[in-house]
């Protein structure tokens, strides 16, 4: 296995270009020819690596869910109270939005059901369930008021998610990091005991 090989493998280049294109123009407005041009990988090679156009989106989706899963693992290991864990989740989502807006855009906006009929909607995937579990832990602890778990998660994370949408739509200009303190303060005041 070569270390420092300069050129990335073809399938990675395809996935990278596809992410940019899907996020800018949308899945259906992006042709496989576009991906070929953008990535420098020929049509034939693309279809050698991926079953079809959906297969490209599918691979992106799976890798994204695994990525999130790993991040939640880290948060679980580093923080222990519901307060700290939920705050860390929001911080992580904000950082991801700043560093990889296309990825966040794919996650939030892409109507996965439209082109991935077999996948569950993103918000019922395992990582999102684990985020909601943090809030349930808080209710058991006595950190958070008792209420419907889904309502609680929506209240706690909803403000942050909304702000991410506004940022991706270009309505919010300033870095999300600058908003973290206020967003978190509001969210926590809302649900804390």
């Amino acid at each position: 296995m070569k270390i420092n090989s300069v050129k990335k493998p073809a399938d990675e280049r395809v996935l990278h270009s596809a992410l940019i294109l899907f996020s800018n123009k949308g899945f259906f407005n992006t042709s496989v020819h576009d991906i070929s041009r953008e990535s420098g990988v020929s049509i034939g090679s693309i279809y050698h690596h991926f079953k079809d156009k959906q297969g490209i989106a599918q691979a992106m989706y799976v890798s994204l869910v695994e990525n999130l899963h790993g991040q939640i693992d880290q948060i679980e290991a580093r923080h222990h109270s519901a307060h700290d864990r939920c705050r860390a989740v929001i911080e992580m989502l904000f950082e991801m939005t700043e560093r990889q807006p296309e990825l966040m855009s794919f996650m939030l906006y892409a109507k996965h059901r439209e082109f991935l009929p077999d996948e569950k909607p993103m918000c019922s995937s395992l990582p999102f369930e684990r985020m909601r579990n943090f809030t349930m832990q808080g209710m058991k602890n006595g950190e958070i008021r008792i209420m419907d778990p889904l309502v609680c998660a929506a209240c706690l994370y909803g403000g942050a998610v909304r702000l991410i949408h506004l940022k991706l739509d270009g309505i919010v200009d300033k870095p999300l990091g600058k908003c973290l303190h206020d967003v978190w303060a509001c969210a926590w005041r809302g649900v804390a005991t």
Copy 2:
């Protein structure tokens, strides 16, 4: 003008069917033939009433924005404090989700830029701006803590919007009306002085 005419005009039937189809399968997965079949209006007539497929979506978008505009007018007339107005906005959005889920789905999910490149994203349209203005009014009044206006609006409405997403995705079962009290309590506690 006939009162009680039994059959709706063709263009209304087209818009109605298109809304259902766009919301269930997505804009790009819906062909004009699908709309023709579903509405009982022939292809030729559809193209007589609308410039093209985008024109159908455009008409839907415009009518939706006007509809929202009218609802905000009513809220503004009936309520006067920021507290009451913002609560009424959430109540209105919840009711709309229950009664016309397809319309709400079109509003929240449809990435309008993908097929309506000339329209602004929904959340920067006038009705959404007016919703945000309610929160600014609250800051001037002293009802709401001073903070960045966009952050404030995100915190106040974010939980409710998140819950609507979860409802439309089938993750939340119970009627949103049952959640209104808790969602609003959390949201208001978060931002109130």
